[in-house]
């Protein structure tokens, strides 16, 4: 079930400040952007300044940061995005790469391999792991295709 905020936000801040951190890299710190589009488990959403505070679990998919200089897209493996009452958006992800750094041929090759593994797997664990990989590579493919448009 979805729980809604029962307290109204305080005074609107007016700007969206983003902290985007990976365990091995601080991608963005205190960066001001206009909007962040993300792919959450509960659905896709776009966050603007003073968005209602929310806790979202990220699916493997695209994070789009839209600022003054245009949009910067990253593919994230998963994590959490938390929008706070002070208009600060905190994103912790495990892995993230710029879409332009991802090789479509490698993705296609890996997807074929995972599909083969899923078909030939004998035990549940291998089958489930392969299914997760397939979901990831298909998501990567649609992200790369979306970018190509």
């Amino acid at each position: 079930t979805r729980l809604y905020a029962s307290e109204a936000a305080g005074v609107p801040v007016g700007k969206l400040v983003v902290n985007f951190a990976l365990p091995h890299e601080s991608v963005m710190a205190n960066k001001e952007v206009h909007q962040v589009d993300m792919s959450a488990v509960s659905g896709d959403l776009g966050v603007l300044a003073d968005h209602v505070p929310t806790i979202e679990q990220l699916k493997p998919g695209v994070l789009d940061f839209i600022g003054d200089s245009g949009s910067q897209k990253y593919f994230v493996s998963g994590g959490f995005a938390i929008m706070n009452p002070n208009s600060v958006l905190n994103i912790n992800a495990v892995e993230a790469f710029k879409l332009e750094d991802i090789d479509p041929q490698a993705v296609a090759a890996n997807l074929a391999e995972s599909q083969r593994l899923a078909a030939s797997a004998k035990d549940e664990l291998t089958k489930e792991a392969a299914a997760i990989e397939i979901e990831l590579y298909e998501s990567l493919q649609s992200a790369l295709a979306g970018r190509a448009k």
Binding site: T1, E7, N19, L22, P23, H24, V41, Q57, G79, N92
Partner: protein, 276 residues
């Protein structure tokens, strides 16, 4: 020096052997210091990033205004490693852990690293619920941290609400401070005063709890590693300096001894010649 035995060929040989051995040791400690120095630089870089990651993750707890529940079960996690020759790193962790366990004798304990485990096993064997090793050779990765977090959370023998992560905070290249990092479970975060402002799906809360736990553990492991590398560098530097001091002292002793032997030989020859 007065009162010392007369130097003869045999004791000179002993001093020579000692000198050779200590010179070798000082070469080893000097190279260990160089290695630790390089590792410290890398470990510090990783720590700075891990701190940002950990602080970002812990912001929700700050903003929500979480309070520890009165009757909460607390788990003590001692974040140590398998490697030695790093000064007071492990004994400081063991001391603070023993202090906590003296105040909370029933608390479950998870030990990361063989060094602290050895020290705690003697005093509080019944509190140790599980332990991990293969820690300390390299900078901890998030994969390792989340594996440990996962194992601890799934362990039926370890029942806890809050966790206290005892780790060494990196203060500077020459100083560390054993500190406790607090972990609050999602159940307490949900009860906190400012949490009403947040919208969320109930089914992500368990995942959030696991994620926050892994993130805290990762910060403690990476910072602890940096503190350890810096302490190792300092320890090796001191060892090399001490070895150098001994070498100087022994060399002086050797030379004085050698001169005494020569003088005695000369005296023997001269007295022998004058007797003829």
């Amino acid at each position: 020096a007065l009162g010392q035995q007369t130097r003869n060929m045999a004791t000179l040989k002993e001093i020579q052997t000692r000198l050779k051995s200590i010179t070798n040791i000082s070469k080893i400690t000097a190279s260990m210091k160089m290695i630790a120095s390089t590792k410290t630089t890398r470990a510090q870089r990783a720590m700075n990033v891990a701190r940002v990651y950990g602080k970002t993750s812990g912001d929700l707890v700050e903003q929500a205004g979480v309070q520890k529940a009165e009757s909460a079960n607390e788990l003590l996690i001692t974040v140590s490693s398998d490697k030695g020759l790093c000064g007071g790193i492990h004994s400081s962790l063991a001391r603070q852990s023993r202090k906590y366990l003296a105040e909370h004798p029933e608390a479950p304990l998870v030990v990361l690293g063989d060094k602290a485990k050895m020290q705690l096993q003697r005093a509080y064997p019944q509190n140790i619920k599980s332990s991990f090793n293969q820690i300390g050779a390299t900078i901890p990765t998030f994969e390792e941290s989340s594996e440990i977090a996962s194992t601890v959370l799934n362990d039926k023998d370890v029942v806890f609400d809050n966790a206290k992560l005892m780790y060494n905070k990196f203060v500077s290249a020459i100083a560390f401070e054993t500190s406790a990092m607090e972990f609050y479970p999602i159940s307490q975060i949900v009860e906190s005063p400012n949490f009403k402002a947040y919208e969320f799906q109930e089914d992500v809360l368990t995942n959030l709890n696991e994620f926050l736990f892994a993130n805290s553990l990762h910060w403690a492991l990476v910072e602890g590693h940096a503190a350890e590398m810096a302490a190792k560098r300092t320890a090796m530097e001191n060892a090399t300096k001490n070895a150098g001091d001994i070498i100087n002292r022994l060399t002086l002793q050797y030379n004085r001894g050698r001169q005494a032997v020569i003088t005695n030989e000369l005296i023997d020859i001269i007295t022998g010649a004058s007797a003829l």
